[in-house]
Symmetry: C2
Subunit: 136 residues, 2 copies
């Protein structure tokens, strides 16, 4: 199986999970971008990176585990803050080079304590901070 071959498959067609993961396109350091979206509101929370093992762990445990490029280690989101992401569904895109994680975010997703990481709005004229950190 490869992602190109899936394009013509009917809705409802099923494939092996191990094949689906093995055929993802990882970059030259073995990572794939993963977008986290709150499953019920549609809010895009953050984007981070996963490797093959963090994808497998996330599916197995139901709790999102990324790969931290800055720390070069597994990043079990919320391990210290408690702001975990419970996985509701993992999706791959048409060419298998991006993941979308539908999650139930506990607490703020952003390390700044804002609900999501995308709080800087940029337009032609100026850039603007559009969100405050949450207060407990």
């Amino acid at each position: 199986m490869n992602y190109k071959d899936l394009e013509k498959q009917d809705k409802g067609s099923v494939f092996d999970t191990n094949d689906a993961i093995a055929n993802l396109t990882f970059n030259d350091v073995g990572l794939i971008p993963a977008i986290a979206q709150q499953h019920d509101t549609g809010e895009v929370l953050m984007m981070a990176w996963m490797n093959k093992l963090s994808i497998e762990e996330t599916l197995r445990t139901g709790q999102v585990c990324y790969w931290s490029r800055s720390r070069q280690s597994y990043w079990r989101k919320g391990e210290s803050s408690g702001h975990v992401q419970l996985l509701r569904e993992m999706r791959a895109d048409c060419d298998g080079d991006t993941l979308l994680l539908l999650v139930d975010q506990q607490g703020p997703a952003c390390h700044t304590n804002r609900k999501n990481c995308f709080y800087i709005s940029i337009d032609k004229a100026q850039a603007t901070i559009i969100a405050e950190p949450e207060t407990e």
Copy 2:
């Protein structure tokens, strides 16, 4: 200005757009990931890559322009298909290494004619095709 310094800024604080763009973190080939989300429904449509000039063009024209890694050229989304993305808002994340584009997608976003690119659901047991191409 750098993104780290923005963390403590109050909501409503404004900055220069050129600074905001210049201080984004581009990867070693000058690209930054950009997530496209339908502005009114919250549907995550696709993820692609932009460089500095495609960001500037997108802000200037109001129509999303990516950088195509496979073709190594500017990719004015919908130029041949008509399935353009009208920009409603561009946002950067906390560390300035990912963009979120709130867009008004015209027609299907995916080259397979599906509404969005994330049509392969992966769980522990199996992977499943969850969307059909749109019919005109």
